[in-house]
């Protein structure tokens, strides 16, 4: 197979006559808004440069999403923003992933191309609306010139362009070709709608997800589903201990499996190449590898926590400081202390990592559910030693991520999927399409976990009031040696380790948050809601304890301290109202707990109603959640993200724990890395607090406070505070 035969997309974005393409104008790229619209000779496999929106003669409006769809509804969000300003009919909207072009498709919040931090709608809100508005202006101009009527007399609604006075009307497709010859308006000055006139943004019902149908009838294509002629499926045997290296291997039995065509030692382990998945899986089972553990992590989780605990006795790099907390402790009537520990957590997206790559010796084409195109593209360029224009990535749907598809692989932290794909392709040589597949065991055991973390909290009480609060955060930093370091680490402080702890909703006279980064050999990465996966629980458990000890109500007591946090107070009031909060206390075996947080510019408050189920497993009956994420683009997507985020967070809160014993990961699949199941899912009521502030993200916001809301209820049911380390359910409490 030659690289020209590798179909990067069967549904590619075609440049052809009669297609209106709206894109970003970039000096030097030579492409204006419609410059490619009338190109007739373009190769049919070329992406229109800089494109964001394409309108064909069939009237279909295709949006190129710079954000990867991992389930969070990014495609639906991008389509809504464009359709709103274009006044399109929802049924005519389609979405594809954008190619890699950092200058055009960068995330405006990060400065590189990628999806994360609940930023998709927030950073694209103006940009994608402008694309829609521009397309509308050009279509209207085209209609005006064809009908010879003033453009101002033309209206557009639900995909129909009308001139009332003359009774003429038509669809977008009729004007697409003509519109390509209309001069493009200036993208930065094009007039956007007054939010009061929105018909799609904020609409409650009827705006279905653009990806629902394909994901309901089995036609949606994920990385796992890629099947190319002559493709080899590759499994990789990796060191069972982090940092281990191949000493020797024996492939004779593996090669005896029918369908196994090769076994090669590669940079990231030993690769087994099969004609199909079953052969590649069986071959790996028969492979014998002798691992050299000279550089490996040999410790157990307890030993790593012991190190953290020791470090936590000293104060670390200051993240925030107000007043003189040390003085306040000296003058306190009482000092309250707490420690919360958090294990490694595997993201376990439903689709384990998979990627397809074709290398012909001089060019690379990769296709998979890529999340941070900028980082992956750079890694592939470096690994193949090819210039950027010789490496293409086609992004397709990803079967969940929760942070796992952010590939931080590098020589310090270790390899991840991009490195696996490159190593597998290089070892077998040019001209073979290779699909690297990870099994669930690989997913659970190969690292890139939410780091282990410890919080040591102290509060000074004087005259029945909290006068000082300190929080020392100790743990690994996933960011420090990664490509993200420049973005989040400065002067020894990793912002993504302390978000939610360095700034809290409560005002105390004396306050300090400090942090220690403890290096480790286990590769770590960010998990859905990042620092808030631990800061939310530590802060909200501790404040609850302080309110308890000073005899205050969990809701009223929090509100009294929220003088400088009006939006946090807003969501807390809203959730208390929805849940008809009557104070703490156990009613018919059920108790309610509270949690409040801010993350990624969004505010959430939750109340969980909990009882103790069989075997002491907490049973969560209902969760109320109020969210303030500014102006809401897709209310139903927001509700879905909060519902799912609570379920995901509850699974982590109750069960998720990756533990090491002598350096070996003790979990391997869903039988011992327990996911939340439908019979454990609470009822959920979501309250969206109305706001006209700029939109902020919600993809991660269900997660931060479900753990403390449940934990705080458990205390009322008799669990001691000291037992609220995560996960809350521990068959073996020593781990």
């Amino acid at each position: 197979m030659k690289i020209s035969e590798v179909s990067l997309s069967r549904r590619r974005f075609v440049m052809s006559a009669g297609v209106l393409v709206i894109g970003a104008y970039l000096p030097g790229k030579g492409a204006g808004a419609n410059a490619v619209g009338h190109t007739t000779a373009a190769a049919d496999n070329a992406f229109a440069p800089n494109a964001f929106v394409q309108i064909g003669e069939d009237g279909i409006v295709t949006v190129l999403s710079k954000h990867t769809e991992v389930g969070q509804g990014a495609y639906t969000g991008m389509a809504t923003l464009v359709a709103e300003e274009l006044d399109a009919d929802w049924a005519q909207m389609r979405v594809l992933a954008a190619p890699v072009d950092i200058a055009v498709y960068k995330n405006l919040a990060f400065g590189f191309q990628g999806t994360g931090g609940s930023s998709s709608v927030a950073n694209a809100y103006q940009q994608m609306r402008r694309m829609g508005a521009m397309a509308r202006v050009m279509l209207v101009q085209a209609a005006a010139s064809l009908w010879r009527v003033p453009a101002q007399e033309i209206t557009v609604s639900q995909g129909r362009i009308r001139h009332a006075a003359s009774g003429r009307e038509g669809g977008f497709g009729q004007f697409a070709a003509l519109a390509t010859r209309v001069p493009a308006p200036d993208l930065t000055t094009v007039v956007l709608k007054d939010p009061a006139n929105f018909t799609l943004i904020g609409r409650q019902n009827g705006l279905h997800r653009v990806d629902s149908l394909a994901k309901t009838n089995g036609t949606a294509q994920f990385s796992e589903d890629i099947h190319e002629p002559d493709m080899l499926t590759v499994t990789i045997s990796k060191s069972p201990r982090f940092g281990g290296k191949v000493r020797a291997f024996d492939a004779s039995e593996a090669l005896a499996i029918p369908g196994v065509v090769a076994v090669k030692q590669i940079d990231t382990g030993v690769a087994v190449y099969g004609k199909n998945t079953w052969a590649a899986l069986q071959g790996r089972n028969k492979l014998k590898v002798d691992w050299d553990d000279a550089q490996s992590e040999m410790r157990s989780s307890e030993q790593i926590f012991a190190e953290f605990r020791q470090v936590s006795q000293k104060s670390g790099v200051i993240a925030a400081n107000r007043g003189t907390p040390d003085e306040a402790f000296k003058n306190a009537d009482k000092v309250i202390e707490a420690e919360y520990i958090f294990p490694y957590v595997a993201h376990a997206p439903m689709e384990p990592l998979v990627g397809y790559l074709f290398w012909d010796g001089s060019e690379v084409k990769a296709r998979y559910g890529c999340q941070i195109q900028s980082l992956d593209h750079k890694q592939l360029c470096d690994l193949f030693q090819l210039p950027p224009e010789k490496v293409q990535i086609e992004t397709i749907l990803a079967g969940g991520s929760f942070g796992r598809r952010i590939d931080l692989g590098n020589p310090i932290l270790g390899p991840d999927l991009a490195a696996d794909m490159a190593a597998a392709a290089k070892a077998i040589g040019p001209g073979h399409g290779t699909k690297v597949v990870w099994t669930r065991e690989d997913d659970i055991r190969n690292g890139w976990y939410r780091p282990m973390i410890l919080h040591r909290l102290r509060a000074a009480i004087r005259d029945g009031k909290v006068t000082a609060w300190t929080d020392t955060v100790v743990g690994h930093s996933w960011a420090v040696d990664s490509a993200m370091a420049a973005l989040v680490v400065a002067n020894g402080l990793d912002q993504m380790m302390v978000e939610g702890a360095s700034e809290i909703p409560y005002s105390f006279e004396h306050f300090r948050c400090d942090a220690h980064i403890v290096p480790g050999k286990v590769p770590t990465s960010s998990l859905r809601s990042v620092a808030s996966t631990h800061t939310g629980h530590a802060v909200e458990s501790f404040i609850d304890q302080l309110l308890n000890e000073t005899g205050q109500d969990p809701v009223e007591g929090r509100l009294a301290l929220m003088g400088n946090a009006p939006r946090e107070a807003g969501v807390l009031r809203a959730v208390a109202k929805a849940a008809n909060w009557q104070g703490a206390g156990v009613v018919e075996g059920r108790a309610r707990g509270v949690g409040v947080a801010k993350a990624f510019g969004t505010y959430v408050a939750q109340i969980a109603e909990v009882s103790l189920g069989e075997g002491g497993i907490p049973r969560v009956h209902k969760v109320w959640c109020a969210v303030d994420c500014g102006l809401v683009v897709n209310p139903d997507v927001v509700r879905a993200q909060i519902e799912g985020g609570i379920g995901y967070g509850l699974g982590i809160a109750l069960y998720s724990s990756i533990t090491l014993q002598d350096g070996l990961v003790e979990q391997s699949n869903f039988h011992n890395y327990r996911p939340l199941r439908i019979d454990e899912m609470p009822q959920i009521e979501v309250v969206i607090v109305p706001s006209s502030e700029n939109p902020t993200g919600v993809g991660e916001l269900g997660v931060p406070v479900i753990a403390p809301a449940v934990g705080n209820a458990l205390v009322q049911l008799g669990r001691p505070r000291t037992s609220l380390n995560l996960p809350l359910y521990r068959p073996n409490p020593n781990l």
Partner: protein, 157 residues
Amino acid sequence: MIDLTVNDQPLSFDGDPSMPLLWYLRDEAGLTGTKFGCGMAMCGACTVHMDGVPVRACVMPVAAAQGKKVTTIEGIGATPAGQAVQQAWLNLDVVQCGYCQSGQIMSATALLMQHVAPSDADIDAAMAGNVCRCATYVRIRAAIHEASTTLGKEEAS
């Protein structure tokens, strides 16, 4: 040689009879709607119907499908229950990443073929083997009830 029927199409396979039905369907028959999530009957992503009964294709050798009728997500829409379930899934926008949903829909359809009006407890029992990491469970439950209502009305009329 193994002969089986998949979505009403007769097929035969002369490869390794111990190959799991999942990999046969995906790699050999080209039906990739059935997903791999765990490979050990712990997640339900690979659920298909064999003679109308839901099975986990990841632990079922293809040889066990000899002479059987297999229905996958690609074919389930041809049944009234499957159609009602898929429509309810669309109406409520159940999906998020979507990767588990073929299995969810196959399990839900099997449930409704048995019980036209399942209780919440029936849903828990029938669906607890299907993991959704996006935790779309609230909507899965609601959509099963909605599909049940649709099927009930069809039966009445």
